[in-house]
């Protein structure tokens, strides 16, 4: 890598100098606007309204995106934006999981706003460099990079024709270029996408954090909804930030002692309890794979089944014993003792353009393991790591890729598509060699890769039109909603999780309502009313993390020893109190649990209305594919016949004797679909929405969100 040569190719398009300013109670009180069409850079004020009603993070992202775009803005219009914001707590070092950024944009997959949360050092460094958010708008003529020098107060837009596009290469190039020496490398964070993000809709953004022990840039991903595709469409190769001298008090918190107390308490829980509970420090989020399989919730072969005998071949311990380096400080921001960013070091690639190279692979996280592994019938840990590596470096979301590939494989096996259509690739379940070739095609922009890269929503249409497939059947088995692929949980037996996926704002992504565990494993929300209430509380509660720059995992991936004896174990009351304390410690704002949820509700309703403004966000858009609610095919029913027959007898008093599978399936389907509709009614009512899913003006007034621009959208839909 010749850095000087890369530098010679650079052409300065714009330089902007600014005062570094100060951070008070977690806010810099300004945002950085970069327009790459006009090469314009400016500072914008953070208004009291933004802080009061939108808080930060996802709130700032959605607010900024709303005002930067119009009701007719499409994902690839120059005015579409990528907004990155941490939130007021982002950047503290004492409490685990406090380095998150939220990234918002209009999604190429859903055509509505997407919000994707991501770790890595960029979010904290952005704030320390003087900015509560970064708003990027426009489309460059040629490939560019944006550099934010948070030590000296300079922002530059430069043409960058020679840098690589794939993340693991460009992150190394730019770190080498901007760091003065080895010790300086941890002060650099790079955002990049990858070559496949250019040729598909499911592109992601990698946010880097330098690993001082492995001496390599590692990544966390803003994975969902194709923001990497928007990034490359704008011809951005990378956004680089540099900030030196991170200390524990840069947020100028009002009460450091209360933050320290909460942080130390959680560090000690991790120290003493993690090995007995989830083993996050050993295996990361993959821990839940075995539990999911045991409870029939792990997606296998396009969500047809919930477990498989070969799951043991890709168990967390297989990864731990053979691939994942142990005993390292694997947090993606300082102070994260949960340290879930597990890594396979010295992993030798067997395919693709980097074949033979030994690389560092971050993962596989649970979603990747399930999506690119069991859901595709791939039970080979090596294969999963290789897919994981290439998805990351090519800038591809492993969830959308995994769910899309699983859909393709089922279509192939059911002869809906054939070898001719796939260009000679035999895309059967379990075929690693041919399926990873599709990923390489996505990188090269050719062949069947171009089709898979469109995602399930568009593939359904393509397969119906070009292959004569039955559109209704494709709708039943294609695991997408609102254009976004499902994340990796089989929700057939969990009505709560059906709603958890179906009643989301962005599309079926678990971060908004991951309640399958409390529903199916812990049995904490047994009644219909419990489930409806959970679909009010948890999406709001979980939204709240994204307003402040926090990760959700330290909330519930370790629990205090006495949690099960508390009044509401599912909520983990002691950890909720920690968060209230931390927010007070940073901002001086004293919240209670009711106000906490109301803060989220304001932003949640704003996002719902944003969806409506862009033509979605109504009841029709909350319809779910039947595969997520029950058995679509005879094989699925018969694989769990005892369970389904039992339910027909017990719940519906239906006599199954002498009935064909098809007859029983029809009765079960009618029941389950009506249950889901009933759930929608209950949840909408609880959220203050009318029966079409539109927030009522009354509720908006109650929340203090009767802003003119919102009323304008919903007033004729009441």
């Amino acid at each position: 890598m010749d850095i000087n040569k890369l530098k010679e190719g650079r052409k300065l398009l714009k330089e902007f100098k600014y005062d570094l300013g100060s951070i008070e109670k977690g806010y810099t009180n300004r945002t950085l606007y970069v327009n790459i069409s006009e090469n314009k850079i400016e500072s914008k004020e953070v208004t009291p309204l933004m802080k009061e009603k939108f808080i930060g993070g996802k709130g700032f992202g959605l607010y900024t995106l709303w005002h930067g775009t119009t009701p007719s803005t499409k994902w690839n219009d120059p005015e579409n934006e990528i907004v990155i914001s941490g939130g007021p707590v982002c950047g503290i070092t004492q409490y685990p999981g406090a380095g998150k950024s939220l990234v918002c944009s209009i999604s190429p997959m859903t055509d509505i706003p997407i919000d994707s949360n991501v770790g890595g050092y960029f979010g904290p460094y952005l704030k320390f460099s003087g900015w509560d958010a970064l708003e990027v708008q426009g489309k460059a003529e040629n490939d560019i990079v944006v550099f934010i020098d948070g030590d000296n107060g300079v922002v530059r837009i430069e043409e960058a024709p020679l840098e690589a596009v794939d993340s693991h290469v460009i992150a190394e190039q730019l770190t080498e270029m901007y760091a003065e020496n080895e010790a300086d490398k941890r002060n650099i964070s790079v955002i990049s996408a990858g070559t496949a993000a250019e040729h598909s809709r499911m592109g992601l953004l990698n946010f880097s954090f330098y690993d001082v022990r492995r001496k390599v840039q590692r990544f966390k991903q803003a994975g969902r909804g194709g923001i990497g595709t928007v990034f490359r469409d704008k011809k951005i190769k990378a956004i680089i930030i540099k900030f030196s001298n991170v200390k524990g008090d840069l947020n100028n918190a009002v009460d450091k002692a209360i933050i320290n107390k909460a942080g130390l308490k959680l560090h000690k829980e991790m120290h003493y309890l993690d090995d007995k509970q989830n083993r996050m420090r050993q295996v990361g989020t993959a821990y839940s794979q075995e539990i999911m399989s045991a409870y029939d919730l792990l997606p296998v072969m396009n969500f047809q089944y919930g477990g498989h005998e070969d799951v043991k071949k890709i168990s967390p311990d297989v990864f731990k014993n053979n691939y994942l380096t142990q005993g390292m400080a694997d947090g993606c921001w300082y102070g994260c003792s949960m340290a879930c960013a597990k890594t396979a070091d010295g992993f030798e690639l067997l395919t693709g353009p980097y074949k033979g190279q030994k690389v560092t692979v971050d993962g596989a996280e649970y979603e990747t393991l399930a999506g690119c592994g069991s859901n595709c019938g791939i039970f080979d840990p090596r294969a999963i790591l290789e897919i994981n590596f290439y998805c990351d470096t090519y800038g591809i979301d492993t969830i959308s890729y995994g769910t899309s590939m699983a859909f393709v494989m089922e279509c192939y096996e059911r002869k809906i598509i054939n070898k001719e259509f796939t260009g000679g690739l035999e895309l059967k379940f379990g075929n690693f060699e041919d399926s990873i070739e599709v990923l390489h095609q996505m990188s090269r922009g050719e062949g069947f890769g171009l089709i898979l890269g469109q995602g399930v929503h568009r593939m359904k249409k393509i397969f119906a039109e070009k292959c004569g497939a039955d559109p209704d059947f494709l709708f039943d088995i294609g695991m997408e909603q609102k254009g976004l692929e499902y994340s990796e949980y089989v929700s057939k037996e969990s009505l709560a999780q059906q709603g958890g996926f179906g009643l989301t704002n962005k599309g079926p992504q678990h971060d908004e309502a991951w309640i399958i565990f409390m529903d199916m494993v812990n049995n904490q929300i047994p009644t219909f009313e419990d489930k409806a209430e959970a679909l009010y509380y948890f999406p709001m509660f979980r939204t709240w993390f994204g307003l402040y720059g926090l990760c959700k995992l330290p909330w519930n991936d370790v629990t205090p020893a006495n949690n099960k004896f508390t009044s509401e174990p599912a909520k983990i009351p002691e950890h909720v109190q920690n968060y209230l304390d931390v927010v007070y410690g940073v901002t001086g704002k004293k919240l209670n649990t009711t106000e906490m949820v109301r803060e989220s509700e304001r932003v949640y309703n704003f996002q719902r209305i944003f969806n409506i403004r862009l033509g979605k966000g109504l009841r029709a858009n909350d319809k779910i594919p039947y595969r997520s609610a029950g058995p679509v095919t005879k094989e699925e029913y018969e694989a769990r016949q005892e369970r389904f027959d039992g339910q027909l007898k017990e719940i519906l008093n239906y006599d199954v004797e002498g009935k064909t599978t098809e007859e029983k399936m029809a009765v079960l389907r009618k029941h389950r679909e009506s249950q889901y509709e009933k759930l929608i009614d209950a949840v909408y009512k609880r959220r203050g929405w009318n029966s079409n899913g539109v927030p009522t003006i009354e509720r908006l007034k109650d929340l203090g969100m009767d802003l003119p621009e919102l009323i304008e959208v919903v007033k004729d839909m009441q």
Binding site: T93, Q94, V246, G248, L264, L266, H271, A329, Y334, G335
Partner: protein, 134 residues
């Protein structure tokens, strides 16, 4: 490996060691700013101080904690980002923090407390085997 050895049976909880430590490093008499702390467990004195085991070295995300040539585990405060993970994960519960300071602090086996102990309950020792390993 140099470390502070202790004989709890000799301790009379006079607090002299704590006073010397906090006065030396923080210019104040404050038990909570002392690297060595004398507690009482089941009516008996407990001398709580770093054993120089070094578990914190791997916990630190920025490699601010290292072992020096004498085997003493030391914190480089310039590099430290104040995350306090080393405090939460110390097996001896002997890594200290105080809310007035950003960085944690710990015993570096300087021996000043040992010199001041009227009971000779603490002393600087060298653990040869471990030193050889390091």
């Amino acid at each position: 490996m140099k470390y502070l050895a202790k004989d709890q049976s000799k301790c009379i909880q006079c607090g002299q060691c704590e006073e010397v430590c906090s006065t030396t490093y923080f210019k104040t008499k404050d038990k909570f700013k002392s690297c060595i702390q004398i507690n009482e467990v089941e009516s008996k004195p407990e001398i709580n101080v770093c054993s120089q085991c070094g578990e914190c070295i791997d916990i630190c995300p920025v490699q601010a904690i290292t072992r020096d040539k004498l085997g003493v585990v030391r914190i480089n405060k310039k590099i430290c980002v104040g995350c306090l993970m080393c405090v939460g994960f110390c097996p001896e519960v002997a890594m200290r923090q105080h809310d007035e300071y950003l960085e944690p602090f710990k015993c570096i086996a300087c021996g000043l407390c040992a010199k001041s102990c009227p009971q000779k309950a603490i002393s600087v020792e060298v653990y040869q085997e471990a030193l050889a390993e390091n």
